[in-house]
């Protein structure tokens, strides 16, 4: 029985439409989201600033963030070649802001680097093997959830001291639970699908199943979770600095700058405003990217 030409063309057309891969489709949808692009541009600028600031200091284009000018304390923006003014010790606010971005970005990204293997290992194990292991691991994450984020981080930092390592570790330690739960949920829902059944019946070992099938298919939500984890980590670091138990001076961080400016708020209010806005807009940029990625990668949002 011959298939009518019209129907054949329709089938061809449909197959052609489906051949756009997930990643290309996601990128096309991400590109159409103006807020996400704006967020991306902001983050890109920040990354460039973070990489270039030591070079700029080296070539004398901006002032060293630890150089004190005792004769120019708490000057307003635009005075004595301090574009954004100085702080209570006469240090240049612009330069400190630029160096502060290095801390914020590295906290945001490195913490995700620590969370990823922990969350993947626990989530995959719990989801794939199920049963008693799953129950045990999930009760464990329940207990972790009982600690409010900020309180747990503060406790950890008070115990292990305010070193860079303990702050990064503490923030990672409170944030892996969300990823582990997500991965477990993903694995549970994918595990029962037919293609997994097919792979298993054709003799795939558990490890291969996990790496080749379960992991790639839950990659989208994992990426989204990690992206939203970045502003969360930056926020926690900034709060720690603001409360005076974060990364210690003289390393400039935005939270610390808000705190310092806040102490001298009547002398020079702008020294609070700039770092505060830097924190706010950085977090906003990352959450725009996160929103964009979520909309782009969620298969339910596809036509």
């Amino acid at each position: 029985m011959a298939i009518p030409v019209a129907v054949e063309q329709a089938i061809d057309w449909e197959i052609g439409e489906q051949q756009i891969g997930l990643w290309r489709d996601a990128w096309q949808r991400f590109r159409r989201n103006r807020l996400a692009l704006l967020g991306g541009a902001l983050v890109l600028i920040l990354v460039v600033v973070a990489f270039l600031s030591p070079l700029l200091v080296h070539f004398g284009i901006i002032i060293n963030p630890t150089t004190q000018e005792v004769e120019h304390i708490e000057v307003g923006p635009g005075m004595f070649r301090h574009v954004l003014g100085t702080d209570q010790l006469g240090r240049d606010t612009l330069s400190r802001l630029m160096f502060g971005s290095r801390i914020s970005l590295s906290v945001g990204i490195l913490v995700q680097g620590i969370i990823l293997p922990i969350g993947l290992a626990i989530g995959l194990t719990a989801g794939y093997f199920g049963g008693r292991i799953d129950n045990l691991l999930m009760r464990f994450t329940d207990i972790w959830y009982a600690f409010p984020d900020l309180i747990f981080v503060l406790v950890l930092v008070s115990v292990f001291g305010p070193s860079l390592l303990s702050i990064f570790g503490a923030i990672a330690l409170v944030n892996w639970v969300g990823l582990a739960r997500l991965v477990r949920g993903q694995v549970l829902s994918i595990k029962e699908k037919e293609f997994i059944e097919a792979a298993r019946s054709s003799g795939s070992a558990p490890f291969k199943l996990i790496v080749k099938h379960l992991l790639p298919n839950s990659l989208g939500p994992i990426i989204v979770t990690l992206t939203f984890g970045i502003p969360q980590a930056i926020f926690l670091e900034a709060v720690l600095s603001f409360l005076g138990v974060g990364i210690q001076p003289p390393t400039p961080t935005w939270g610390q700058m808000v705190f310092d400016g806040y102490e001298a708020i009547y002398a020079n209010p702008t020294s609070v405003v700039f770092p505060a806005l830097a924190i706010g807009f950085t977090l906003l940029a990352f959450s725009f990217i996160g929103d964009g990625l979520r909309d782009a990668l969620d298969p339910r949002m596809r036509r």
């Binding site: 329940d142 207990i143 009982a146 600690f147 409010p148 984020d149 900020l150 309180i151 503060l154 406790v155 950890l156 930092v157 008070s158 115990v159 292990f160 001291g161 502003p231 926020f235 900034a238 709060v239 603001f242 409360l243 005076g244 138990v245 939270g255 808000v258 400016g261 806040y262 708020i265 009547y266 209010p269 609070v272 405003v273 505060a276 806005l277 924190i279 706010g280 977090l283 906003l284 959450s287």
Partner: protein, 342 residues
């Protein structure tokens, strides 16, 4: 979800099965509540255990000074004896648990002679006032904005509300608090020659409350508004709403009796996380506005390594959040008859 009006009396049609169902629901509800309450005990036990272990893992002793002259060994021994630190660790932990059950959380290191319970009791009224006021602001404002945005979807009201919610959800509360102090207090005082501005320091039951309460409630308001909007939009598209419009009910009746009643159910679940926000938010807000509540006491305890105080406050915070979540879960079951008990 079925149309409720005009439904035949199911009890008349299926008497035996329905009564059996309702009977088992009441029974399983009791089991559900009991199980949830019992589940709190291990959670709180582990919170105490983990925090206790961390405190004892900490390098150095609480009597180490940051610099300068250290205490002599005799003084250290006496201090250890006073705070029971000379006993074996396990015994210390059992003793702590035993005392905690009797609401005794030991003596503070930092204020000698004051008990942790007393310090917490001193800060409690401030934190409580802030929390209750913020809560009273969050629910009506958050829900109101969310419903408004959903009913006028894609209008200017919707965009402004959701734009505000996005900002409020991204800007950390200490940033918002600091910016408010700069603009509403410092600069406002300067511009109006001190005629009109909001006070930022100290604490009193008057206009001193405005900025702290707003700072504390902005983030939860944003979350509540977003969730209410999503849930209302979901309800509006349901068949029974179309039916309600079609049978000619007034707008008021449709919105209040049909839309609100159904779309507010998921909003109840956010009340649990809202409590967590208020608890952690109080730490930041009390520090910014210099309010002598539990949150600020916790920060002071953290920076001076006052372990009994840290431990006591952490336990208190976790219990508050656990109880709030429990209440919300139980409330949810009562409000929404469709919820499955697991």
């Amino acid at each position: 979800m079925a149309v409720t009006a005009g439904r035949p009396n199911r009890g008349a049609l299926l008497p035996a099965r329905v009564s059996a169902l309702t009977g088992s629901r009441a029974g399983s509800l009791t089991i559900f509540i009991v199980r949830r309450v019992l589940w709190m005990i291990p959670i709180i036990f582990f919170v105490i255990l983990i925090t206790f272990l961390l405190m004892h893992l900490a390098p150095g002793s609480p009597w180490d000074k940051d610099g300068g002259r250290q205490l002599s060994q005799v003084v250290r021994d006496n201090l250890n004896a006073k705070y029971g630190l000379n006993k074996p660790e396990l015994q210390q932990f059992m003793l702590y648990l035993w005392n905690a059950i009797h609401f005794d959380f030991g003596l503070s290191y930092q204020y000698s002679g004051k008990s942790v319970v007393k310090l917490i009791a001193e800060g409690w009224p401030y934190t409580m006032t802030l929390g209750v006021l913020a809560f009273l602001l969050i629910v009506p404002v958050g829900v109101g904005l969310g419903v408004l945005a959903a009913l006028r979807q894609n209008s200017r009201v919707d965009y402004i509300t959701m734009g505000f919610a996005t900002f409020a959800a991204s800007f950390p509360n200490f940033v918002i608090g600091a910016l408010m102090v700069v603009f509403l207090s410092v600069l406002m005082a300067k511009w109006t020659q001190r005629a009109f501005f909001l006070p930022a320091a100290d604490f009193g039951l008057d206009d001193h409350l405005i900025m702290p309460v707003i700072t504390l409630s902005l983030l939860p308001i944003a979350y509540t508004a977003r969730l209410t909007r999503a849930s209302t939009l979901d309800t509006i598209r349901q068949d029974f709403i179309r039916t309600a419009w079609a049978k000619g009910l007034s707008e008021r009746l449709v919105v209040v009796r049909h839309i609100l009643k159904n779309s507010l159910i998921p909003v109840v679940t956010t009340l649990g996380p809202t409590f967590a926000f208020l608890v952690t938010g109080s730490i930041i807000v009390e520090t910014i506005f210099n309010i002598p509540g539990i949150g600020r006491a916790f920060v002071t305890a953290v920076s001076s390594r006052d372990y009994p105080m840290i431990l006591g406050t952490t336990v208190l915070f976790s219990v508050i959040i656990a109880v709030a979540n429990l209440v919300v879960d139980v409330l949810y079951v009562f409000i929404d008859p469709r919820v499955r008990l697991t």
